[in-house]
Structure formats: C-alpha cells, structure tokens
Amino acid sequence: MSRPAANLPPASLRPDLALIAGHVAPGSRVLDVGCGDGALLQALRDERGCNVHGMEIDPANVAECVEKGLSVIQGDADKDLAFYPDDAFDYAILSQTLQTTMRPDKVMEELLRIGRRAFVSFPNFAHWRVRLSLLWRGQMPVTRLLPVAWYETPNIHHLTVADFRAFVTQRGIRVEDAWYLSGDRLRGTSVANFRAEHAIFLLSR
C-alpha cells in the first residue's frame, strides 16, 4: 500500500526531512541531532513556528546554522545528549545519523529520554540494490544513498528496516508511525525491507 505524499511540503528539503517537517506539530520544541546545515530546523522554525535546537559535529555546518539564526551546538550524538534534561523536547530528530554513531542503542535511549517523541530515519541496508551488490558482486554496495566506499564511509553501523523493527520491539519502544521512501516516493510497509531506500520512524516511549 502506498500512501499519498500530500504532507510533503518544501520541495527544497531532502525527501525524508520534508516528510518529518510535515509531521511535526506546529509550535513544538524540537532538537535535531546531526542537523547538518540546519535546513530542517529552518523549515520547522519558519513554516511551523517551532522552537528549534540542533546538534552538529562539523564546525563549518554549525557556523552556517548560526548565520541562519539557529541555535545549534557543536557536539557528538554519542557523548553530548547526556547533558539535556529529561523531556526537554517534544520531538528529538535523528535523521540519517543513527548509522554513524558509535552506540546506536545508547543514542536511541538518550533520544527517547530527552524527547517525548523521536523521529529516526536511516538508509535501509536491505534495499534490493544493496542485496544485489552483495549477492552478485560480493562487495560492499556503493549506491545513491550509500555513495561512499567501505573504507571512508561515516556509516559504521549499517542496519535494515527489519533490524530496526526488531530493535524497537525488543526495547519496548512504541512505533507511532513509519514511512518508507524510495527516492521521493512512499513505499508500503509490507515490502519496505526490500524496496525502501530510506525508513523514517516516529517513536515514543
């Protein structure tokens, strides 16, 4: 089943970010962990009236965010989430960052401690192109979403949609909603682990 993408707003945003932006309640308090150049935060602030905060590891990106008037701290998801109080945010967002962390399980714990809800998006390592690459060529895949060779990729904890579903079930984390993207098109839940390049989960404790 494929749902319409009516909720996808700003065309300038990366599809997964646009989808997240479309599902954050207006006026919320939001932390985007690994916020990059702040595109999502800017959209949430300017279009949804959110109170937005970011964390980003690259100082050049942080400087760009400050120039946009965003509150972004240079920090590391693995270490610096510990300093936020419980329930500090309505939403904690981790887009395309989970697979780059040292301990994704601890980061997830922190995310759901400081945010009442969390958006988590990641590239699906079980997408058919990835599977084909491994199956036929016997090599780590280099695809549109995983464009960097194994030796220099920041992605150190690859995971699949099925892995993530198992993880949240095991940890008793509630899945409030989930979206699966291939390019900018939504894919159905049942075929997601095979056909989705990207998965986006909305979680709560």
Partner: protein, 369 residues
C-alpha cells in the same frame, strides 16, 4: 601610566549612588569611562554592550589615546563590520578597577589620596554592576546583545546571570563560567612579579616617581605567552635569532621570541597601572558562576530568556574548548537556546582578537536576527 589629559577622550559618567560591592563595601563616587559608537534607536532597542578583556579598555573601535593604535576590536566593530555600527549602538566601558578613566586603585579616594591597596577587592560581578549602573543612567533597559571575549565573556555571563532580563542575546568568546586552577596559577605569578618589584612599595608608588615597571613587564610577558599557541610562536619566531648571526653567550635577547616578549612587556607598562593589574586578575581568579548559584551552573541561567552563542578556539589552551563545553552543557540543562562552535584558528587564546574570518561570520550571524 595614563594621564588625565589623554583619558579625556572618553565620556565619563559619575554614578549618583554608591556602588555596592560583593566584599560588602559601598564605593562612593564611582566613575565609569565609556565609548559609544553608532546611533541609539528611538526605541532604544539596538544596544550592543561589549565587555573588554583583562588588559583591554573602552577603546574598542577608536584609536587608543596613549598608544595611538587602532581600537582592540576594530576589525569586528564599525560600519558594515560584523558588529555593525550602522545598525547597532555599541557601548564599551572601562571596567571598575581599571586605569583608563573608570574608578580603580589609581583613582583618588575621598581623602584626596590615591586608593592604592585601600581599593576594595572587586569581583567580575562588581565590574558588571558598574556597567549596569551606566546603562541605567543612560536610560537603557534592554540589550540587543552583550558580547565579550575572555574576561569580557565572563562579564557577559555574570550580566545575564544577575540581570536575566537585561540582555536578549549573550555572545561569549574564549571564556569560562568558572576560572580553573591553571589560570589562577598564572595570574598569581603575574601578581607576585609586580609585588616583588621594590618600586611597588606596597602599592603606594603613585607620585613617588617610581613604579613597578619591571614587575609589571614580567607579569605581562608571562601572561602574553598564555595568550599564544605553540604553533603560532614556532611559526612567528621559531628559534630565529634577533638581529645577530650567532648566540652571544650572554643574557641579551638573543632569540626573536625573547625580544618580542620584552617589547610586549615594555609597551604594556606605558598604558597600564600595576595595581589595576593586581585587582583585575584577582577579580578573575574569584570568578565562579556555579559557586554563586549553589554549585549548580545551570541555575545561573534559569531565569533568562536570552539566546546564547558560545565560541571557543581549538588552539586556545588558556580557556580550552572543554570550559566552553561545560558552559554549554549547563545552558542545555537550563533549556536555554544556545549555539556553540569550536573554531579552528592558529593564534591560541588571542584568536578572538585576530583575523579569524569564521568568527566574523558567527558574530554577524548571531547578531543578524
């Protein structure tokens, strides 16, 4: 030492009320010397207060009246610059305890003689009290931003912690919320150098024709090293010799770095009062914003709605990034809107004063909206 004639360049406000101090005393007849740039808007909503560092002064963007050198933050403050005086009304006051026109140990006490060591020991918060009194006298009730590097950053933090509704933005560069032991140690070396100079005369050198120039110069030389980085010293001087082909087997300034430090010391004594140096470094070593708030730094920021921006430099070993990080974590814990960035710059602690384009962008960006 500065003379009254040269100082007349700045505007001076005499406070109508005695200034209450952390030590319990009240200081009568406090004068605050300040410089102003730009135009105050009719709504009085465009005021940027800049707090200066240990040996800085109010001449942030105008030539220094003694040295004739450009203002210490000339590159940052002016028309079209990151702190744009076409948009902002920029104020900078000489700190209490200073020697550029504000009341300090070199000022005359009510008995007509210089305070010298009778001047009360002041704190960073006392320095801020004097500046808040200046703002009140000028009819300014809100600050668009309070900005400071090093000790200026500490004043900015003290201001928002104690007058939480005064600033809308707080920009803290290369500073700390709590003075660490290593910095207290360096400051003690500087003070001991001054006090070991026989010309110090227990502080009563005013009018004697002798002042502790050697001691103050040594203090400055030692402090100056802490403002630089190993990399910048190596690049600027290395082991190069000063105007000579070989070592002299003597104790002249054989090395360029020695000559440079001697010059730094010698030029400093022309513009700074030794007792001011003692009092100001004392105030810094007492600075502990967490202690002022029951040991919990986050509580210092519980009552403010201000937005914060904290900047550190990767080669600053005097106020290393870890100190800024501690501050940021406390701001996070207080749920304050905060930006933090560690910039890469080769100049050590002095990076905040020097050519670091990334800092310009962050400052301009933070002030832009």
């Amino acid at each position: 030492m500065a003379t009254a004639a040269t100082i007349a360049a700045s505007q001076v406000l005499e406070l109508a009320e005695p200034l209450p101090l952390d030590c319990g005393q009240r200081l009568e007849g406090v004068r605050v010397a300040y410089e102003a740039y730009g135009t105050l808007s009719p709504e009085r909503d465009n005021v940027v207060l800049i707090a200066h560092a240990t040996t800085g002064d109010q001449h942030v963007a105008s030539p220094h009246p003694i040295t004739g050198k450009p203002g210490w933050w000339d590159r940052m403050v002016g028309p079209g610059k990151p702190i744009d005086t076409d948009r902002f009304y920029v104020l900078c006051a000489n700190v209490l305890g200073g020697c550029m026109g504000s009341t300090g140990p070199g000022s005359l006490a009510p008995d007509g003689r210089p305070y010298a060591m009778r001047f009360p020991v002041i704190t960073v918060r006392d320095m801020v009290r004097a500046q808040v009194a200046l703002l009140e006298a000028l009819g300014i009730e809100r600050l668009y931003c309070v900005v400071g590097g090093s000790m200026g950053g500490m004043q900015a933090l003290s201001l928002v912690a104690n007058w939480p509704h005064l600033p809308e933005r707080v920009l803290v560069i290369a500073a700390t919320a709590t003075m660490p032991a290593q910095n207290i140690a360096f400051q003690e070396v500087g003070r001991q150098a001054v006090m070991a100079d026989p010309n110090w005369q227990e502080g009563n050198y005013y009018g004697t024709g002798k002042s502790p120039d050697s001691g103050l110069a040594v203090a400055r030389m030692a402090a100056h090293i802490t403002y630089l980085s190993e990399a910048s010293l190596t690049e600027k001087f290395g082991r190069r010799l000063q105007d000579r082909a070989s070592k002299t087997f003597g104790f002249d300034a054989d090395f360029q770095v020695e000559s440079y430090l001697r010059h730094q010391g010698a030029s400093f004594i022309n513009r700074f009062d030794a007792n001011s140096y003692l009092y100001i470094t004392r105030a810094m070593s007492y600075f502990d914003l967490a202690e002022e708030h029951g040991g919990r730094l986050a509580d210092a920021f519980a009552r403010t709605d201000a937005r914060f921006c904290v900047v550190s430099f990767d080669t600053d070993w005097l106020y290393p990034t870890e100190l800024s990080r501690k501050l940021v974590h406390a701001l996070n814990a207080a749920a304050a809107p905060v930006s933090f960035v560690e910039l890469s710059a080769p100049f050590g602690h002095d990076s905040f004063l020097l050519d670091v384009p990334a800092l310009d962008r962050v400052v301009a960006g933070f002030l832009s909206r």
